[in-house]
Amino acid sequence: MIGPMMDAWYPVALESRLGTNGRSTRLMDTPLHVARLNGGAIEIRTEDGRALPVRLRYGHVWTSLGAPTTDLFDIPEADQPGRRLVEVGVVRVRCSPLRAVENFLDIAHFPFVHTDILGAEPHTEVEKYEVEIREKEDEVWATQVKFYQPQAAKSASTGITTDYMYRVPAPTCSVLYKTCPARPGEWDVITLFVQPLAEDLCDVWPWMALFDDESPMTDLIHFQQMIFLQDRSILENQIPRLLPLDPGMEIPTRADLTSVAYRRWLKRHNYTYGAQLVAQ
């Protein structure tokens, strides 16, 4: 049952990497082909020939299986002059697309999963932060998130307390804003765009819009790939693979308020593709 997630937007390719052979892929169990036509236009069709809507934004090709009621969410910072736009590529993960997003919203794992990079013992405490579901935008937001990081970004050389904001504008997409070491006062933008292949399998496309004129592009890509591969070692070993939406199966604490709000928002909208509803 795909349900209302049918009408959401999903990434299905990197625009810059889409050659004339196109890309055959899947979206929520539906096989589809992303084609680069003569002349450069991009067309997406399901196996039975149905044409799907196409959007080109944030380096990626986006589509929807249904009839989206809103256009693709806006990331205003993407158009801000001076930012490096980093296409990190794709990582396939054997987990629910919703688990991939939830992990992205979590900071308490930094000292244990991204040891000595995004966190380090004994700096494990998660201080109180603010979480809300913004009704007008219909997005989950977490603000005033702070965490001590030994090396917050490629451009950081010493430990700092980093400020974060998290945003969930679509069921399988999240945008993170974090302190920018190179330009105080601005936020670096790091996103996780998740393409659900099946309820327990996804292609993850991280993408970034950073202020960093120093680091070679390869280093920026490698840094983010390293971080996400560390996350993958967690995501492929959580039981169950689907995200449990009913209470009782897992135990959240105050540090998990973003995850709690995300699960509540998913449930409210019946965004349950990749979710487990009844404890088994």
Partner: protein, 205 residues
Amino acid sequence: MLSADLPPMTVVPALMPQGPFALWRSESGILSLQADRCPHRGMRLSHGFVRGEALSCIYHGWRYAQNGRCLKIPAHPRLEPPEAIRVETYAVTESGGLIWGCLETPAGAPPNFDGFAPLRMMSVKVSPQMIATSDEVDRRADGALAIELAGQHCLFLARAQPDGSTLLFCLIEEAAAPEARIAVSRALELFRCRLEADDLQKEAL
């Protein structure tokens, strides 16, 4: 699991017939057998780490005691974790160089194999029945499986896995010299190859 394969301060997934469980040995040498799932976010505890007398989850560092109780949640260092946060804990003991777990109340002590010591544990992609009924294996009066490998008397313990395969333990006479142990280990690998090849052949027919 062989005792020798689990040094202090390590955790492994113990492959029980019911699935994997987290088996760990504390710094002081005490064994624990627990559910392989952290109740916080479902992460496998067998991927975690042992410090002192506690097991920590690799995801968020939640720390569990030998009795299963959660001792610490690092995201909230000053919080005393509620008593209700715990992982299921099962009986585990060591005897004759082997680690024995039991998911129910144990009916008695684990069996004894006098004069034998464990040599190796290995996975075999055939059922325990197929091993027990192999022409090379004799069932002893006490139920143990006897086999002659590289001219040495050996015993097998075969435990079923959830996928129908077998976790096989090979025991060798305590007095066997190192060269004999190496020879048996190699012969054991060949035995496994023969069984798995026979099984494939049967499937093909």
